[in-house]
Amino acid sequence: MSVGTSARSLPGSGEERRHLIVAIVNNKPGVLNRVASLMRARNFNIESLAVSVTERSDTSRMTLTIVGDEVHVEQAAKQLYKLIDVLKVQDVTDDSTVEHELALIKVRATKRSRPEIVSVAEMHRAKVVDLGDEAVIVEVVGEPADIDALVELLREFGIKELVRTGSVVMSRGSGSIEEQVKR
């Protein structure tokens, strides 16, 4: 039997990029574990995950950043939807949004370098929230790329500790993903 020369394309062979997914889930014990377990089992690569309670105490909001092509990420969203405790999933990558992250950066400091660190921080609209003899803690809130840039600059002084919350995101305008949850 002859087989056509054109090969059928495989799902998920498109271009990879970073996607931002928002999920509204029941605020119950174990839900985070369900989401994390699903992502691991299905081989989806989570870059960051931020979770907190929403305006309603019975729901939580998760912001996931996943790297993959459109089909791959759509598959992740569909698999998330299959979890009974997941109420709403939305890929907001291409929406108009505010995406912010918070980082705390503990930077090695000496008497001499301290003023320099403070001015670098201020230039990046970051705050110094702890001033010690040998270290300062810089707090910055902003877009991940801006935080990356600041971290790069502070690396010169020596970073002792770094923690980032992962992105949280909200769409601009009056639309609300929480209001879209059907109850």
Binding site: M1, R8, S9, P11, S37, K82
Partner: protein
């Protein structure tokens, strides 16, 4: 909470009041099977909830933390508890019960090892979308997380292999959770739900009432399966069908789950489309129907795979284009547009790119599609159907089917399956195990009725046949239930012979003894160049084994003995076994080697007729002349 012996409302004269009082009493207190009244506890609520959901059988095994349930089981006479010999069998039995009847199967085990033993059966149900509620006991609340005796994080274990799971810590939660578990198990794309209940929750007194179906649905905002397909997509499908010259329907388990066999046939007739089926789709159409074309995939019929490869439109309904069906996706049906109907949105675009996706229940979608179908004049399909008929004759004629079994007095597996099916009037439920026997059942079972074929397709669990057939026999007593198992799979769960004897479950067992892990041997022969290892399988004298268990049994070694043994086994009221000593080296052909495509089938009887054995395996072993001897 009523005290024992106290009847609330007793002495009231008004009939309504007394009825209300009686109900109150039933809710809060139980008259025990041993007389006397005791409080209603969580375990009672569990039994009531299962009965309210329409399931009447629990397949289970007791243990420490689940004993409070066994303490009240006798007080719920509507609920039959069947004691298995291993919890894995309880899960498979619940699975077979569900597949044969469409009801939710219920299985039960204690904490720790009882629960882990259930896991294989739960996973089997998950991969095949079988509605099941698996219940386990757990240690008392205060001991959770303390590594107590027989404590294991079983909800952590079942999380990735259930549709949903629960840990229940109080008696009051039980009615709601069980009702929700049944609802989730059977709706949408069905699947197993696991409910882990602490010992205190089983023992705690409770007056909690059972919720209504509406309560349950309202309480699940995150779970609203979409059953109706999008009208625009359905219209596009109707247009695609009208424009197709070589359409093929690929029907799967979803058609059976939805009960859409009639709609499927109407579509096939109206638009003159041949129906092919997946392993779990067997039974979607009477195989004798002129539009029934056959079983597809890795060990499917060559003519079926050929039809798929040459199609211009594939209509997948309630199936998931898994790797056993498509082979290499890049070379799969290269000229075809793919329409894909499934209730699970995640299946669409997962394995193949669908040109025309429709999310919905097969029955709902087909119902909406049928009025849009323009009736096709069969004359238009004359050439297409003539070609299909030629291919079919070629591929069916090339197997042993129907003739080979008698050749040289060799008992071939396909012949055995054929005699079992025919001897049972093509009306029995045939449950397969895994391996070559499974493929022979799929190819030669000649199924004529929905849900009459039961097989572990997704997980491919050896040891499935006997316990699952047990479940089917209990669920559908009016039909004969056969377990057709290889010698390997049979030896994995043969302890259940004691269950079928004790409970007089009339399962008929066909042991397909090739004294080998046949499918392993076949792969080692064909894929690993005859480098055999660990494929020889010693077994007991199965007649003596059955005698020990108290089960009538027959041994069949030549084709002429087959019909009489089948008739004798069927004549028994209770369980019976036939030990078929089949050809030791028969292969399942055709075969699609892993990674290859549907057009690359190895077919010993194919056009090229090439000898597929290479390497140092010595002279090719002719399956027509199996070697005698070998380990018993």
């Amino acid at each position: 909470m009523a005290e024992p012996g106290h009847v609330p409302g007793a002495g009231s004269s008004a009939a309504i009041a007394s009825e209300r009082a009686r109900r109150e009493m039933l809710r809060d207190a139980r008259v025990t099977s041993r007389g006397g009244v005791r409080p209603r506890i969580g375990a009672d609520a569990l039994c009531e909830a299962i009965l309210l959901q329409g399931s009447d059988t629990i397949w289970g095994y007791p243990g420490g933390v689940i004993l409070p349930l066994y303490d009240v089981l006798a007080d719920h006479p509507g609920l039959r508890h069947i004691l298995v010999r291993h919890e894995q069998a309880a899960a498979h039995a619940a699975d077979g019960y569900a597949r044969a009847s469409g009801k939710v199967g219920v299985c039960l085990g204690t904490s720790g090892p009882g629960a882990t033993n259930l896991v294989t059966g739960v996973g089997t149900a998950m991969l095949d979308s079988v509605p099941m509620v698996a219940i386990t006991g757990n240690v008392p609340n205060a001991l959770i997380g303390k590594d107590a005796f027989q404590e294991i994080d079983i909800t952590g274990i079942t999380l990735p292999m259930t549709k949903h799971n629960y840990l229940v810590r109080s008696a009051d939660e039980i009615p709601y959770v069980i009702a929700e578990a049944f609802h989730i198990a059977r709706s949408g794309r069905p699947g197993p739900v696991h409910v882990d209940i602490t010992k205190d929750a089983l023992m705690g007194e409770t007056a909690a009432t059972h919720p209504s179906a509406a309560d349950i649905e309202a309480g699940l905002p995150g779970y609203r399966p979409k059953v109706d397909g999008h009208p625009r997509q359905i219209k596009l499908l109707a247009e695609a069908i009208a424009g197709a010259h070589r359409p093929v329907i690929l029907a799967g388990h979803g058609v059976l789950i939805a009960g859409a066999e009639r709609e499927l046939l109407e579509l096939a007739r109206a638009a003159q489309i041949p129906i092919t089926w997946t392993l779990l789709g067997i039974g979607v159409i009477d195989e004798k129907d002129p539009l029934a074309y056959g079983y597809m995939g890795m060990h499917g019929w060559k003519h079926v795979n050929r039809a798929i490869q040459s199609a211009d439109l594939l209509i997948g309904i309630g199936m998931r284009f898994d790797d056993r069906v498509t082979g290499n996706v890049r070379t799969y049906a290269p000229k075809a547009k793919i329409a894909h109907i499934d209730i699970d949105p995640a299946e669409i675009g997962k394995n193949v790119v669908a040109d025309l996706p429709i999310v919905g229940d097969a029955k709902h979608v087909l119902d909406a599609l049928l009025p849009l179908i323009t009736k096709v004049d069969p004359a238009i399909r004359t050439d297409y159907f003539a070609e299909l008929a030629t291919w079919r004759t070629e591929s069916e004629g090339s197997s042993w089917h129907g003739s080979g079994g008698f050749r040289d007095g060799v008992l071939s597996a396909d012949f055995v399956v054929d005699r079992i099916a025919a001897g049972s009037g093509f009306d029995a439920n045939l449950t397969a195990d895994v391996g070559q026997n499974q493929m022979w059942v799929a190819r030669y079972g000649a199924f004529r009725r929905p849900n009459s074929h039961i097989s572990s397709g997704g997980l491919g669990t050896m040891g499935f046949a006997l316990p699952a057939a047990m479940g089917a026999a209990v669920a559908v007593p009016e039909k004969v239930s056969w377990a057709i198992a290889g010698d390997g799979g049979f030896q994995m769960t043969l302890q259940e012979l004691a269950t079928v004897v004790q409970e007089r479950i009339p399962v008929k067992i066909a042991l397909m003894d090739n004294k080998k892990l046949g499918m392993i041997r076949q792969w080692q022969e064909i894929v690993y160049a005859g480098n055999y290892h660990s494929e020889q399988l010693a077994g007991p004298d199965y007649l003596k084994l059955c005698e020990a268990y108290g089960l009538p049994a027959w041994k069949v070694s030549t084709p002429d003995q087959a019909d009489a043994a089948v008739a004798a086994a069927l004549a028994e009221d209770g369980p019976a076994l036939i030990w078929f000593e089949i050809a030791e080296r028969q292969n399942v052909y055709p075969m699609m080697p892993a990674g290859k495509g549907l057009s690359d089938l190895i077919d010993k009887w194919g056009d090229d007729g090439e000898d597929v054995t290479e390497g140092d395996a010595g002279p090719r072993l002719d399956p027509m002349h199996p070697t005698e001897g070998g380990p018993k």
